[in-house]
Amino acid sequence: MIKYLLRQLLAWFIRIFLAINITYFVANIFLDPSANYVERRPPISPERIQQMLEPYNLSHNEPLLHRWWDWLTGVVTRWDWGLSPIGGSVNEQIAFRVGVSAQLMLGATIIAFIIGVALGVYSASRQYKLGDRVVQVASIIGLNTSIVVVALVVVFIAIQANRSLGWTLFFVTGSGSIGVEGFGPMLVDKLQHLVLPSICLIFISWASYTMLQRSLLLDNISADYVRTARAKGLPQAVAIRRHALRTSMIPVMVSFAFSIPGIFTGAMLSENIFAWNGMGRYMVTTIYGNDIHGAVAVAAFSSLMVAIGAVLSDLAVVWLDPRVRVN
């Protein structure tokens, strides 16, 4: 098993390495930092622009392969992912923003997963009854609603609530207030900022887990071995929970593990709406700002997350399904 894992990790390492380098060249083709200066008044000469970019390893004066080699040695030897076109450190940005994204998305994703699976189990065990229909309708609404719409409604309600209370219970923007000290007040402040974006994210993401879990569980509820379990004397609910759920959880867990990369970079819209400076927003910023090094670093981070998701899903499958343990 450990041997298998190590082999997987090595394979993923090679894949990530290749992906990052390909991204570097693609980014260099599509993103041009000098374009940032074109509209400047008074205009700056192209030579001057290239000169300005030189210290950031972004100038066309140096051949692309040369720049690539400098960048790569920086990454490998100093873990330095380069500088933005205005000289900011990519490392610093990423370090800060990963934390922000994690705060925002981790909780929301896990809660959405738990709610989704629970409702999936609930509606599958009441197929075609009222509870099932209600959950079905709700999940169709959830699946088809844009986060922008949800955010508008949630923000509107929150502002109304704040007004009628006369003080700010929910913060509609930002990830934290400035000047709050001490663990208790910090936690309360964080929660006040987290509630609204979390509600929005949960609202749009729980339904896919419910749909998947419901259909998989329905496949398994009528399985022969669930009937055997009931014939042994397990009441229906227990038989479903013990015998059908575990086998039907396998694909849902895989889908959850693969949603991990989305945790960090998938929240562009919500981060923008609620003004959280997370990874999603950073990805958009780097592309608009022709920030080659930033964009490559985002891609690198995403591919690392995909790898982690894949390895976690492998582990989940092995944990849940003894049949794959043999090989």
Binding site: A223, Y225, R227, A231, K232, G233, L234, R242, P322
Partner: protein
């Protein structure tokens, strides 16, 4: 007589469906006494499984159940799921049909037995494990302590069914319901499981309900028999009485439609015409009337109820309010007139007439031309190891050096258990693969080494019919297109195709007017006829039949077998027939080859093989098949083989059958070493074509 442990009265089950209300079970009534076995027989859709699930309370909630089921004196119909849960598994337990899917794949078998024990006892976990290991030992799992920690996928089908039985008897139930417990298993494994069921019954003293479509199993195991048709019990009698003197035409038909292992030559079977009815909006009258050979006007007006008829075997029963009645019930308006399969002196089912002529009919086998000759055919699959760098670590010998000749208008049956390589042999013959080891000659031309032109020219000479007609027909093509496809492939012109399709449909007993329908509009038997018509389209000389009737119900099966025999005579076809069902083989084939782990262990004429089997494996196979006659079935002794088929992964010398062989066990050490070290060749007495591969027979 003591009180019945299970009493079912007027049980009715209906399901809602898109097409309307399905009356799946209509008025089932029976008593089950402690220690006795009730057999419920019927074809698919007759309501026998639904009856058992209704008793267990395991039907979908959409099912409407009425009537009464009392277990141990208490009414159990209408109990809540929770209340039923305390009865299920401890009072009434159940064994299901498909052992491959009836165990949860993600738990060890030990866990699954322990779970059953912990639900109904107060034993500690350690005690439960001990008892689970005991139970596994009792049902014949070798090395139970270690095997208890194995997962279901590490067991063979027969072993899994043993585990299911262990779970069923774990809490010493008073009633065991076995729903087709051996249908998914091979005959030798079926014999093992039936023996185990008998042991389990003795062990627990439980009453058993055996649900099956196999009259042979009923004959061997049941004390009383309930025959079901269209959701309704149509005959109910003690087993001896029922087999000796059935009084309802359907039961007579069912018994007559089965090919008999003890029977003689190719006399036609007696099929029941038509198909079982849909259970939606049943018209008034007897649902069997449209298929019945002796209907009267009353049959289509009023449905007969199950009433007592005269019994010949002292079978009487006290019925409250009515006194002593004969314990033989039949639901037929004319049951009084029916006696031993005769109605007013004439057989209920007239024997269909078949004409047996043709140029080969009286010709000796060796004078007929050889249509197919297979020499030293071997098929191996590589065993691969390694994830990145794949390397061959060995071979699976699926087919290992088989040779046979097939003459014109002759049927050679290849029989064997699943995994013996019989279907692979067939597919290899069909494939014409130039890489095949060995030689395949069609009409004397070697299609393996003869080049693409010879292969192309002889492709039409051999055609195939598959096991599952539902899967073998493209659901998007009309019947016309299906039958016309091979004709188009061989370049026939349009008008010729239209004529030929109509002709083929007529020959195979289909209505040419239905040529524009899709396969889903036909029943299983009709679909197999379409498959046969398609196979016959390019006028082949040989038809390869891979279990052509095993997916069909007994009453339908007889019609298809008769058709095959008919076509053979009319069209002078050679059949290469693969089956695990020896009674069908006995009925249809001229010669039999018995296959075991990729090799022929015996080959000879059907008469010879069935009368004087020489190889111990053939002997065991023949004895494992239940005979649908309670007198014979209960008096004969049976050879039950231990263990499962070995896997054909190596080609070491020695007899493959030695580890299961009953003869081997009686041999001296010197004789045994010969079995283990030398592969026995197929040999026979001088001039005989009955060959067997055994050193000591």
């Amino acid at each position: 007589m003591s009180q019945p442990i299970l009493a079912v009265r007027d049980l009715n089950v209906t399901f809602p469906s898109e097409a309307g209300r399905v009356d799946a079970v209509r008025g089932v009534t029976f008593d089950l006494y402690p220690g006795s076995t009730l057999g419920i027989v019927g074809e698919s859709g007759s309501g026998k499984s639904v009856t058992s699930l209704a008793i267990m309370g395991l039907l979908a909630q959409s099912a409407k159940i009425s009537g009464s089921v009392s277990f141990d004196g208490k009414e159990i119909l209408g109990l809540t799921d929770k209340e039923m849960s305390s009865i299920r598994g401890s009072g009434i337990s159940m064994i299901f049909q498909d052992p491959l899917s009836s165990l949860t794949p993600v738990y060890t078998v030990g866990d699954q037995i322990v779970e059953a024990l912990r639900l109904h006892t107060n034993l500690s976990k350690a005690q439960c494990w001990e008892r689970a290991v005991d139970l596994l030992d009792k049902v014949g799992i070798p090395n139970p302590k270690v095997r208890a920690k194995s997962f279901p996928h590490e067991f063979s089908g027969g072993m899994r069914q043993r585990v299911v039985i262990a779970i069923a008897i774990a809490n010493n139930p008073k009633v065991i319901i076995a729903d087709e417990p051996t249908t998914a298993l091979d005959v030798t494994i079926q014999a093992q499981v039936m023996e185990l069921l008998a042991v389990a019954r003795q062990e627990t003293g439980a009453a058993t309900i055996l649900i099956t479509h196999d009259m042979g199993l009923i004959a061997g195991m049941a004390d009383d028999v309930l025959v079901m048709y269209a959701g309704k019990p149509i005959e109910h009698a003690p087993v001896m009485e029922l087999f000796a003197n059935p009084r309802m035409p359907y039961t007579i038909g069912l018994l007559g439609a089965m090919p008999k292992i003890t029977g003689g030559d190719k006399a036609p079977l007696i099929p029941i015409k038509g198909n079982p009815p849909m259970l939606i909006d049943l018209p008034p009258g007897c649902p069997f009337a449209v298929r019945c050979p002796v209907p009267i006007d009353l049959c289509s007006q009023r449905e007969p109820s199950l009433t007592p008829v005269d019994s010949e075997f002292d079978a009487e029963q006290v019925v409250p309010g009515e006194g002593v009645v004969d314990y033989h019930f039949a639901a037929c308006h004319r049951s009084v007139e029916i006696d031993h399969g005769l109605i007013n002196g004439a057989p209920v089912y007239p024997v269909p007439e078949h004409e047996y002529h043709g140029q080969f009919a009286d010709m000796a086998r060796n004078d007929r031309p050889v249509t197919l000759s297979v020499e030293h055919l071997t098929k191996t699959f590589p065993l691969i190891k390694g994830a990145v760098l794949k390397r061959r670590v060995g071979s699976v010998y699926a087919v290992n050096d088989i040779s046979f000749d097939l003459h014109a208008a002759e049927t050679l049956a290849i029989v064997g258990e699943s995994g013996s390589g019989k279907t692979t042999s067939l597919l290899e013959v069909m494939s014409f693969d130039p890489k095949t080891e060995g030689a395949i000659k069609l009409g004397g031309v070697d299609v393996i080494h003869g080049g693409p032109a010879a292969r192309r020219a002889h492709r039409r000479d051999i055609q195939m019919v598959f096991q599952d007609p539902a899967g073998a027909l493209d659901p998007r093509l009309t019947v016309f297109d299906i039958i016309a496809e091979p004709l188009r492939a061989f370049g026939h012109d349009k008008s010729d195709i239209a004529n030929r399709v109509a002709q083929l449909m007529e020959v195979t007993g289909l209505d040419p007017a239905q040529a524009d329908r899709f396969p889903t509009a036909f029943s299983g038997g009709q679909r197999q006829r379409i498959c046969i018509a398609r196979a016959l389209a390019p006028t082949p000389k040989i038809v390869a039949l891979d279990e052509p009737v095993s997916a069909l119900d007994v009453s339908i099966r007889a019609g298809v077998l008769n058709l095959l025999l008919d076509l053979q005579i009319k069209l002078e076809l050679s059949y290469l027939f693969v089956s695990h069902d020896l009674s069908v083989v006995r009925h249809i084939s001229d010669r039999v080859a018995v296959m075991y782990v990729g090799r022929f262990v015996e080959i000879g004429s059907t008469q010879e093989i069935f009368a004087n089997p020489r190889h111990p494996y053939t002997e065991a196979l023949l004895s494992a098949i239940p005979v649908p006659d309670p007198v014979i079935e209960r008096s004969r002794s049976r050879i039950v083989l231990d263990g499962d088929l070995p896997s054909p992964t190596d080609d070491k010398p020695g007899c493959r059958f030695a580890n299961r062989c009953p003869l081997f066990k009686t041999l001296s050490a010197d004789q045994r070493s010969v079995c283990q070290q030398q592969t026995p060749p197929l040999t026979g007495t001088e001039g005989s074509d009955h060959l067997a591969a055994c050193h000591y027979r």
